[in-house]
């Protein structure tokens, strides 16, 4: 029965070509993020010299310590990743260079490769997106489930708490907290996670209020199934679809919040790249180094749009009206 439901969702989702394309982009970006060290690295995958085989990316070979295999003088068979630079290595001889065959997306003001930073930036941005959303989805589900299932005074307290949280201008709350804690990857994730759960909580609460009145729940209660079991096994799976949609939108907005924070200098610490950080660095050169602005800007745009399109596709797919057909 459950697989049947998700199968129907998938069938509906497939009908929307644009959402499918966006989904492919999302998966693609996900793999870029996971495989970042394999896509951009200053070391080769394989290095064969005098019957000696090295895998510099995967193991640190002591006899290769401090040796730059890209330089002349290290002959032998080498396979390099597509981008032959690490995200933090600088080259003061190639500062703010436009895209060329050597640096396909150009360099920044320390001569660092933009392509490498963009790839690692994807890692940071998407990682923050997923973790922060995971945090607030968990909190939201717990809060919403408790409020929706028990009702009464529990519902009253949680609902007021949600309204209280909604009153805060989230972005400024985040800025304030980061100013006090000091900015870092972890604090950005935690802060977004702790402030973003209200939407999910309201959705779950609504679903639970509806499901609570269903006959199969009454039946479960009648035969003495305990509350935890009912919530986790019988109610939660049936209320997950809208949560999933909301989480997809959530990832998009989290990536955007992280970019904004980094753009303002409240995000990750240097030299860690994130897309917002890249944009922040580009501000000084906006009038002549277009690639520093356009490229990370475009990456953010594509990612946010893709997540939103996937979210919209999912929303249409779980809509009962479209399901009936």
């Amino acid at each position: 029965m459950k697989s049947g439901y998700w199968y129907r969702v998938w069938r509906e989702f497939k009908k929307n070509r644009l959402s499918v394309a966006a989904g492919i982009v999302v998966v693609f970006l996900f793999f870029i993020a996971i495989l970042a060290p394999l896509l951009s690295n200053d070391k080769p995958y394989v290095y064969i010299k005098e019957n000696q085989i090295y895998f510099p990316i995967f193991y640190s070979h002591r006899d290769l310590d401090g040796i730059d295999l890209r330089k002349a003088g290290h002959d032998g068979f080498k396979i390099f990743p597509p981008i032959k630079y690490s995200y933090s290595e600088y080259d003061l001889d190639s500062i703010v260079l436009p895209p060329s065959s050597k640096h396909i997306l150009g360099t920044d003001e320390q001569g660092r490769d933009i392509a490498a930073r963009l790839i690692y930036g994807a890692r940071v941005s998407i990682f923050i997106g997923f973790i922060a959303v995971a945090i607030y989805v968990s909190i939201g589900i717990m809060m919403g489930a408790a409020a929706g299932y028990y009702g009464g005074i529990v519902d009253l307290i949680i609902s007021r708490l949600i309204e209280l949280m909604l009153c805060f201008p989230t972005f400024f709350l985040i800025l304030t907290i980061l100013a006090l804690w000091g900015p870092s990857l972890v604090s950005v994730m935690v802060v977004i996670g702790l402030t973003g759960w209200t939407g999910i909580a309201r959705i779950v609460r609504g679903e639970f209020l509806r499901l609570r009145e269903m006959d199969y729940i009454s039946a479960a209660k009648a035969i003495g199934v305990n509350d935890a079991m009912i919530i986790l096994k019988h109610m939660l799976p049936n209320s997950l679809a809208p949560v999933l949609v909301s989480a997809t939108f959530g990832i998009a907005s989290t990536i955007l919040i992280e970019s904004s924070l980094s753009f303002l200098g409240f995000g990750v610490q240097p030299p860690t790249p994130s897309w917002g950080e890249l944009l922040n660095q580009s501000r000084d050169f906006m009038d002549f180094a277009w690639w520093l602005t356009i490229i990370p800007g475009f990456a953010i745009f594509i990612t946010i749009t893709s997540y939103n399109l996937v979210g919209e596709g999912l929303q249409d797919a779980i809509d009962p009206k479209s399901m009936k057909k």
């Binding site: 002591r62 310590d65 933090s88 600088y90 409240f266 610490q269």
Partner: protein
């Protein structure tokens, strides 16, 4: 903030009429007699005593005057509010004869009472001006002899006595001595001075407007109004400069090299480069286990490729320094050889100090502790960010792990003052003749500006001896020795003296670069309408 707005009916009327004047002025934004300057942010206050910000002095130097001034070219001390002065033979008494008939911009005459009052305010423990107080600790009293004569009495001789007595900020007693709290006085946002310009208004976040002082005794400047426009984003300010909405702007090295060389820019702007006393540095906090040892501090300097950074990151705009004095002053020791970039030597020094990679994880360690420290930077400073990102890479290569923590300015300053850092980078803005006491005397370790815990007996003795040495040649010789000690100890990695890079619209003529910088009182307007 709101104290500037008076509830008094007549005063508010004046404010309203000024507002209308201001509006009409901003419609015709290109008034040829107005100089448009760039400010990167609002000053905290315009009170010359409580402020230690550079922005405040950029504005106040037009409004307030001091007893003496320095000549723009020779840097000699010249009369300003005082016409002459006498120093007693024991160097303990300084008598200043004040200029008669100088009026504050509200028409009240400037007298010895104002000088005495200003001194009392600085000495008053409730006045929030700790950095300024340091310079007047050795003064026993300031006495009024008559309406136009004041005497400063020192408890012990001090070679910069004339300098500090003469450059003490002077504020009008009749304005500030009204029984209200000095630190939050309403005139902190509305200065009344004796200088060439008078304060007109301050629209927070937008502009500060000055206009020529009709009562000013000197030659009337050609520039009738000075408008400081507050633009926080430098790239926006540069666009405004190019469009003619700003006349003067300090540009950054990359803009100097890449964004201000077009034919039209050269045709329309003077590009002026000059060195006022300043230097940037990296401080190694010797309270920490890593930087307690001077060999480690030396190794760090060996690891920082200052020549390459100067060449590439600063586009060659800057001079490498090896000491704490202004690079063009006689106190600066030009014979000290800069520690060269040499990672191998650094490794040797580190290993001598006990830092070796014993567990084979690629990171140096000593007694089980890894060499892993945190570099604290201020988020407003892009150069710090670039410098530290480069340093992180370079240090990783010799097995030192460095993290960068970037803080918002207020948090950064708090950590600095509490000595809560391992390594830090900043710049000092110096004066033309300087006393290293504030930065390097061991008495300043806990509360003063000796942030990195520099303590050296001989250096202390030299600093104290130099303070009472009035012969310039002898004192400079002592300071050269001080420079040697300091460089040998390497409490800082001394970086660069950075030039002021200023673009000025060519609608002004007689724009000259003096040793002290630019003086727009002498500028002329090319096309007078």
């Amino acid at each position: 903030m709101h104290q500037g707005y008076s509830v008094n009916f007549i005063k508010s009327l004046i404010i309203t009429s000024m507002f209308f004047l201001g509006c009409s002025a901003s419609v015709t934004d290109n008034d040829p007699y107005t100089l448009y300057m760039h400010l990167s942010s609002d000053p905290g206050t315009l009170n010359p005593i409580t402020s230690s910000e550079a922005i405040t002095s950029t504005i106040n130097e037009n409004i307030y005057e001091t007893l003496v001034d320095r000549d723009f070219d020779t840097l000699e001390i010249v009369p300003q509010l005082a016409v002459k002065w006498k120093i007693s033979d024991d160097k303990l008494r300084y008598i200043f004869y004040l200029r008669k008939g100088v009026l504050w911009s509200d028409g009240v005459e400037f007298t010895a009472d104002d000088v005495v009052y200003s001194y009392r305010v600085i000495k008053d423990p409730s006045t929030a001006c700790a950095p300024l107080k340091v310079y007047y600790i050795d003064i026993r009293d300031v006495r009024k002899i008559d309406r136009y004569t004041v005497e400063f009495i020192y408890t012990k001789p001090y070679f910069l006595g004339l300098n500090y007595c003469g450059s003490m900020p002077i504020i009008p007693k009749h304005i500030f001595d009204d029984g209200t709290d000095f630190n939050t006085h309403k005139n902190n946002r509305h200065p009344v001075g004796t200088g060439a310009y008078i304060f007109k208004r301050w629209d927070t976040g937008k502009r500060i407007v000055l206009s020529a002082n009709p009562r000013y005794r000197g030659k009337k400047p050609d520039i009738r109004n000075v408008v400081f426009k507050i633009v926080s984003e430098p790239s926006v300010a540069l666009q405004m400069l190019k469009k003619g909405e700003l006349d003067v702007m300090s540009v950054r090295p990359i803009e100097w090299v890449r964004q201000t060389n077009s034919e039209s820019f050269i045709k329309n702007f003077y590009k002026l480069e000059y060195y006022i006393p300043n230097y940037s540095w990296i401080g190694w906090n010797s309270r920490t286990e890593y930087f307690k040892d001077k060999r480690v501090r030396k190794a760090m300097t060996h690891l920082i490729n200052r020549d390459a950074i100067r060449e590439k990151l600063l586009f060659g705009l800057g001079k490498l320094v090896t000491g704490t004095f202004y690079i063009y002053s006689r106190a600066y020791n030009p014979d000290i050889k800069s520690i060269e970039y040499d990672p191998e030597k650094a490794k040797r020094l580190l290993s001598e100090a006990g830092w070796r990679d014993t567990d084979g994880d690629g990171i140096l360690d000593r007694n089980g502790k890894k060499f892993s420290f945190t570099f604290t930077i201020a988020s407003e400073k892009k150069f710090s960010e670039r410098l530290t990102s480069i340093l992180k890479e370079d240090l990783a290569r010799v097995g030192i792990e460095m993290n960068i923590n970037r803080y918002e300015w207020a948090v950064f300053a708090d950590r600095l003052h509490k000595r809560n850092f391992e390594a830090i980078t900043l710049s000092w803005l110096l004066s033309y003749s300087d006393d290293p006491y504030q930065l390097w005397h061991s008495s300043q370790v806990d509360a003063g500006s000796n942030f990195c815990n520099f303590k050296n007996r001989e250096a202390d003795r030299i600093i104290e001896k130099a303070r009472v040495e009035f012969n310039d040649r002898k004192r400079n010789k002592i300071y050269h020795r001080f420079g040697e000690i300091l460089y040998d100890e390497q409490p800082y990695t001394f970086l660069f003296c950075s030039p002021s890079l200023v673009a000025v619209n060519k609608r002004f003529t007689n724009v000259k670069v003096h040793l002290r910088g630019l003086n727009y009182l002498e500028w002329m307007i090319r096309d007078k309408k």
